[in-house]
């Protein structure tokens, strides 16, 4: 090992220069071709996946909390804030599938990414429906006992 490191025969400056240049050119070619996928798409996918499931969990938590304190006669409504974009894309919260599947879907219409979050069977006792787009300014969940 020691001999291998200290042995400097067969190494010339020009060979070293050519080797380094070739490696650098190859490296930068790969980086340039894949830069969009490596530096933008993959982190964007990770961020969207996490943020969309986060928003889905938020909706599920809020609906469960509201379900716990629903008035027998009366109504309750609450406004909430969500980020306008997850990663680089807008998304839609879809609760229309809640009644049949007991889930809420968070969908990105531009890329088709979809995250599903359970609502723990609440929709069997209380109908849940509606959609919300992340790009609209006001978001609201409401419940009315007389309807």
């Amino acid at each position: 090992m020691k001999r291998l490191i200290e042995n400097e025969e067969g190494v010339s400056v020009i060979i070293e220069y050519i080797l380094i240049s070739l490696i650098c050119v190859g490296f930068f070619m790969i980086i340039t071709i894949n830069s969009d996928a490596v530096f933008l798409d993959t982190p964007n996918d990770v961020v969207m996946e996490r943020e969309m499931s986060d928003v889905g969990n938020m909706m599920s938590t809020m609906i469960t909390d509201m379900y716990l304190i629903l008035p027998d006669n009366g109504y309750i409504d609450t406004e909430y804030r969500i980020p306008a974009k997850a990663g680089r894309e807008t998304y839609i919260i879809d609760a229309d599938v809640a009644f049949t599947d007991q889930i809420i879907e968070v969908i990105s219409p531009s890329s088709g990414k979809k995250v599903r979050v359970t609502i723990g069977g609440i929709a069997t006792t209380m109908p849940i429906n509606g959609t919300a787009s992340s790009s609209s300014t006001n978001h609201k969940i409401s419940y009315e006992s007389r309807k």
């Binding site: 996490r50 938020m58 716990l68 304190i69 008035p71 009366g74 309750i76 409504d77 980020p83």
Partner: protein, 155 residues
């Protein structure tokens, strides 16, 4: 400077420094993602005034029973009937709750609709079984209305 260029020792230290810095960069990227995740779901739990609304409800129920026994006590020393005394006490309770919630920046309204009936007056009965109370709660983003909340006073 000359000696620094010629000195080729410590290659392994330099190499391990590179490896360590690469590991640190990877960890920093992961930590940044972990920071964002879970923000909105936990924020929703904090912001939604679930406990405040529940307490408004359960306090009113608890106090209705206390007020009932109190109005029977006061009835012994005044000419007023039990429902009249109860109504006065309930108004007091309502004012106090409104002040308490206003201190947290929330608007509540607790108003007694009727005692032992649902037509806006109370039966001239000496006992109190059921009261109808209108409850509203508003904190700017959440609006809760229970009209009426039927409270059974058993004690």
């Amino acid at each position: 400077m000359e000696s620094l260029k010629k000195d080729t020792r410590g290659q392994w230290i330099a190499l391990s420094g590179l490896v360590l810095s690469l590991i640190l960069i990877g960890l920093a990227a992961l930590a940044n993602q972990a920071l964002i995740a879970g923000y909105h779901s936990s924020n929703a739990v904090l912001e939604f005034p679930k406990e405040n609304i529940r307490e408004l409800n359960s306090h009113t129920r608890d106090n209705a029973e206390i007020l009932k026994s109190l109005s029977f006590e006061i009835n012994n020393s005044t000419n007023n009937t039990v429902p009249v005394i109860f109504e006065q006490l309930f108004d007091n309770y309502s004012t106090q709750m409104e002040t308490l919630y206003a201190a947290h920046g929330e608007t509540v309204d607790i108003s007694l609709v009727s005692i032992n009936s649902n037509n806006g007056t109370y039966n001239n009965n000496s006992d109190i079984d059921v009261i109808f109370v209108n409850l509203t709660y508003n904190d700017g983003s959440t609006h809760y209305v229970s009209e009426p909340e039927v409270i059974r006073v058993t004690k």
